[in-house]
């Protein structure tokens, strides 16, 4: 990574090179839920701000990455949209709950009573859908511990977490082959 050539380049770097590297390019953009969105060239807005300006409104709780309500997939990785500078989304794919959710999880959350006011639900659904898909890709079911760990950073102040955990494990069982050989804790036998 850090080579002697790089060190030498730092010593000989000229002002024109830095400015030209960011000038004259096409307007920056990202893809959100399958549609292209133009990003600002300048400014300090977060990804959440930009999505909101394009009428893609996500819940915004803490604006500091702790509550998880605005979680989206950025490059297929869950992240609170409020802590990502908009420029970091350039050329990337963003998926909100509109395209990142698994129907099986949404259904299971309703069946398990895992939703009340619903403010935190979009972020939870995005994260747990991603977790369930990842486990399914490995041919297994999510464990209770995995779900609880994934929920760290998703604050819910009305439902609590037990129903969400059971809904996620149930949905994962359905997602990964009807739960055959899976015990109550969601681990494979």
């Amino acid at each position: 990574m850090l080579t002697r050539d790089e060190i030498r380049r730092a010593e000989t770097y000229s002002i024109s090179a830095g400015i030209e590297s960011s000038a004259g390019a096409a307007p920056p953009a990202c893809t959100t839920d399958g549609r292209s969105i133009t990003l600002p060239l300048n400014g300090t807005e977060s990804v959440w701000d930009v999505l909101d300006a394009h009428s893609i409104t996500l819940p915004l709780g803490c604006a500091s990455g702790h509550c998880g309500s605005c979680t989206v997939l950025l490059g297929d990785v869950p992240v609170p949209a409020c802590i990502v500078p908009h420029a970091e989304a350039r050329g990337r794919d963003i998926a909100t709950i509109a395209t990142a959710s698994e129907d099986a999880l949404v259904t299971a959350m309703m069946e398990h009573g895992a939703v009340q006011c619903g403010f935190c639900s979009p972020g939870i659904v995005v994260t747990l859908s991603w977790l369930i898909r990842g486990a399914a890709a490995e041919g297994r079911v999510v464990t209770v511990d995995e779900v609880r760990d994934a929920l760290t950073g998703h604050l819910c102040r009305c439902t609590g977490y037990a129903a969400v955990v059971s809904a996620a494990v149930a949905a994962s069982k359905g997602f990964s082959g009807n739960g055959q050989g899976i015990d109550e804790a969601g681990t494979t036998a």
Binding site: A10, G18, A63, G65, I83, P85
Partner: protein, 271 residues
């Protein structure tokens, strides 16, 4: 109006960082909330993500660089994420689950935490126990500094943190006092590591500076050296300017737990 520069070389980043109110973005997990909450508009945000190799974690070959001592050292690039599986041995065989949230750990960078001026540098005690050295580049070239000596206000204008170099511990343990097990800042923390070049470090307050524990190596290696190790931690803490007797008591307890963990028969502390 804030402009964005995606540096493609360290040289570009260094040059742009000479602008007085520039801000460097690694993961951005602390920077963006600061921008949002304060309305600050730096003249330029310097993104490091496009610098080739900035996210790599690699062993340091013996013949490479002035810092290299053996292949038991590793270099963590400025864009390496805290959740990177390659770093698990440095956190006692697991991810640092006490640090923020899983989503933040997948985005935040190790080097960013070391130089952050926006929040507690929670990783520094662990890195310092592995004798972490920060590689800093400026227009004069490359230099290194102890991870515990980064000024609270961060690096100076024109300086860019490129990487952290660490020794790989044979065993490592970290204990802390906090309100909750996770998503809660360390109030007091002690890290101890056994292995070539390793030692111990502590932090004695929220946002407080981490300190390398001098003369801790022999007591760390000695299975019966718990009290000596605790005494070394107390001496180090008390060498600071402000001493809190409650902190001294808690540090002793944490130090003994760290020592016990390092010498426990369980294999989960092996790196």
């Amino acid at each position: 109006m804030t402009t964005h520069l995606f540096a493609s070389t360290w040289g570009e980043a260094v040059y742009a960082a000479r602008t007085a109110d520039s801000v460097i973005i690694g993961g951005g997990t602390s920077v963006q909330p600061w921008l949002t909450s304060t309305g600050t508009e730096p003249s330029v945000l310097i993104h490091l993500r496009d610098i080739p190799g900035a996210g790599t974690i690699e062993p340091i070959e013996a013949s490479e660089g002035p810092l290299a001592e053996s292949v038991t050292r590793v270099r963590i690039g400025a864009m390496a994420r805290i959740s990177d599986a390659a770093l698990v041995p440095w956190f006692g065989g697991v991810q640092p689950s006490w640090f923020a949230t899983p989503a933040v750990r997948r985005r935040a960078t190790v080097v960013g935490n070391v130089v952050s001026r926006f929040g507690p540098r929670e990783l520094v005690p662990v890195l310092a126990a592995c004798r972490g050295r920060l590689l800093v580049m400026d227009e004069d070239g490359l230099r290194t500094m102890d991870v515990t000596t980064v000024p609270p206000a961060g690096l100076a204008d024109g300086e860019v943190a490129c990487a952290v170099e660490l020794h790989k511990p044979g065993r490592i343990a970290f204990e802390r006092v906090s309100v909750r097990p996770s998503m809660s800042r360390s109030e007091i923390a002690v890290a101890g590591a056994i292995g070539r070049g390793c030692g111990a470090a502590l932090s004695g307050g929220i946002g407080g500076r981490s300190m390398f524990v001098e003369d801790a190596e022999s007591s760390l290696v000695d299975p019966s050296g718990a009290e000596r190790f605790a005494a070394a931690c107390r001496r180090t803490y008390c060498s600071g300017t402000e001493v809190d007797s409650d902190v001294v008591r808690l540090l002793s307890g944490l130090a003994e737990r760290v020592h016990r963990a390092l010498h426990a028969s369980k294999g989960d502390r092996e790196c």
